[in-house]
Point group: D3
């Protein structure tokens, strides 16, 4: 999913992904290489290119919405950490991340919020 | 959950709830009166007063985060409709609501997003 | 799933099911007759006979635990109503049912609890 | 999402969708027209073209896997009905559909399986 | 969340929390100090004070209901362990905990029950 | 759950379990011995004997359906690994497993699919 490809979906996706998570694209390609090399294409072209790259909403709000969803679902803690980092990278503050995660106590329960706060704590600590 | 109470949590919650969903507070009190009259207090004082009324994040972003979570969970379609209406009431556009719901196709799957889009359609149609 | 069968699992299950939900066994057999007639056997023999019929916990606590789980999951509102009725049938009070459902606001969020309270309201009203 | 488009993703998706669910594509485009017209494109191009149209697995097994997932999740009963119909359209038997749904009693619990069996009953009855 | 505060919600919550999980309150305050110090207040005042401290149901039944919900949801294994310990602390027996977790095989599937039994095993072993 | 028992449910379950997961039955009995020794009986007699041992669907399709469900639910990663191994043991190819897991991106979201692909990667690597 590198360099000049001529595929506008892939190029847009790569631009969005690099804005949210610099370096993450290469790591994902590497992780998926052994089992499902095609899947990295869909993450970049569809998830980041077709959807998150749509012009109607800024990346900061998009990442906060993703944090809300992943905290509420509670089934993807590693991806939650990645998107907490991503939210910070596109302009959200730590305080805003904490507000969104805290709010999930109302919509998905206290255990979901506590696990989300722990994820935020790990990300903040790694960054310091 | 009416009028001057002297309880600052309840007053703040009532203010937030009235901003997001005018008239909803009374309807909820009525709905809960027969089975769990105390619960309306907690919705107003805790959910809207203690949490959604926190100053660190604007109500528009809070409502978009709630829409993201309820679309992803897929277990509370009635509340999702209420918060889609709420998001519009505090300044989100229809286009922004659609972006957040669409984005959930990536994080919670296409059926979740399609059900969220149907909920948005019902709200938009009722408002027209 | 009727009468003398000689199968002790089925007999124990039928006894438990009749205690919790008199008449429900026959209705379920009828509902399943067209698509999966064998499944009614497993509901009675396994769910009610092997598991809910175990001696280590009284049926009232078992039904309250089931109400907690179904309220938290939020994906089986019809079965939640059935087990709210079942809990009342084996000695739980309406107030205890409401306590368990309310408590789920903490562990699964307010929308889950509100949907559970609505289910309880429908059951209580039908009974009155 | 009609006719000659020149977009191979869309064409492959349309072919797959028409095999699984003849007529469904047009209905979906219509349903989405008012709120999210672009989304129909992604359902066809990504969900059916990029993913379900991959050559490594036959459509019958794909539809049975989808039935398993939607029965287990329990949050998209309308889509479950659509895919039960889809499985029958691409060669699964009613008995095989019932086996997959029944099996979910083990992996997602009896209420999930019972709701899946009810969905199957509705589809079978409509077809008769 | 220490000592004399004059806030009756906090005092009731602290009493309930200390009955269920002696020492846990201080650990939680410490864990949350870096990211969301206010959240510990809501856990004590709302979750344990307003809800679990309600008089209508004994703490033993409350903790068994929480174990049912967390086993069924399967998204908060650390909190499940905490509440298994909590149930034992307020009078539930190990056998009763195992009955509730086992029962979740019926309502949420075998993997959920097996993960709950593993959590119980870790708690029982740590206590021995 | 060993040897000649005379219980046909247990014998059929043991045969199915040994086909899917040779050696797993003994390990499970051992794991459950300390907390819930009876539960191993139900896993073998009900899950594998009564349900997965039904004649209407081959074990390869059954295991692929289980992989779909566990990937979509996302709450039982250890059991997902076990059933990925099980699918390979009863005739599914690595490529087919990857197709089913990849397809869950559509029905349960990209994080669920990515976690499923990681589980597949761990199983494939351990086998090599």
């Amino acid at each position: 999913v590198n360099a000049p490809t001529g595929d506008p979906r892939l190029e847009r996706g790569r631009t969005v992904l690099d804005a949210i998570l610099p370096g993450h694209g290469d790591r994902m390609v590497e992780n998926l290489a052994a089992v499902a090399p095609d899947f990295a294409h869909h993450v970049v072209a569809f998830a980041f290119g077709d959807i998150c790259g749509r012009p109607g909403l800024d990346l900061r709000t998009r990442e906060l919405a993703t944090i809300a969803a992943l905290t509420a679902l509670g089934t993807a803690p590693a991806q939650l950490e990645v998107h907490i980092q991503g939210a910070l990278n596109v302009g959200a503050t730590r305080a805003e991340v904490i507000e969104v995660v805290t709010q999930m106590a109302v919509y998905a329960g206290f255990p979901a919020a506590l696990n989300g706060l722990a994820a935020a704590g790990r990300v903040f600590e790694a960054k310091t």
